[in-house]
Amino acid sequence: MKQIIFQKEPINIENAVKNTGTDRDGAVVVFIGRARNRSNNKDVNFLEYEIYESMAYKEMEKIVNYAVKNWSLNNCIVIHRYGRVNINEASILISLSSPHREEAYKASRYIIDTIKKTVPIWKKEFYSDGSIWITDRS
């Protein structure tokens, strides 16, 4: 089962995790990217994500398809938010399962690292004194 979702609403983490893992799977790895309150040595008030959705979907599909095939994933759910994301909220969730943990970790890491390189989504950090588009890949 593969699922790619872009949404404005907060991510239902419990639901996604609950739906990951088949009876052939020994390992589930979940990555949650969260909006944190410090960045570039400043207090961050909230984030905003802009997305080129139709293209983002295509790029995400390439990433997920590669990971599913390469690391024998039985489930792979990726949810990315756009619009405003508050501190402590998840901006992205990757929940996947595989028979063995080696594959699950590798796939999870590959997916998040590649999303940050190729999927057309941009983050803007809002501080008390302004905002800035983030263009590094940290």
Binding site: E50, A56, P120, W122, K123, W133
Partner: protein
């Protein structure tokens, strides 16, 4: 012929539009359009980051030749996740 330009993030902020239809000569390459934009929008040169280009939702190089009705997207390095 007509193509559509889409912009995102810093590029959108500097150019002041997120989508625009323009008319270009047949055989134009992506780099020709970028060059034209630079001339018409001096502020565009403020962008320090290398730009990314997609035509019809696929990444491509600045040498790509554009066709009628293409959607040319111009944006800074992505920063999702």
């Amino acid at each position: 012929m007509k193509i559509t330009i889409k912009t995102f993030a810093t590029v959108k902020d500097l150019l002041g539009f997120d989508e625009k239809e323009i008319t270009i000569p047949e055989g134009s390459r992506v780099e020709d359009i970028i060059q034209k934009i630079r001339e018409e929008n001096p502020s565009f040169n403020e962008i320090k980051d290398s730009l990314l280009i997609a035509v019809n939702e696929e990444y491509c190089s600045s040498k790509t030749i554009l066709n009628k009705n293409d959607i040319l997207a111009i944006f800074p390095p992505v920063s999702g996740g």
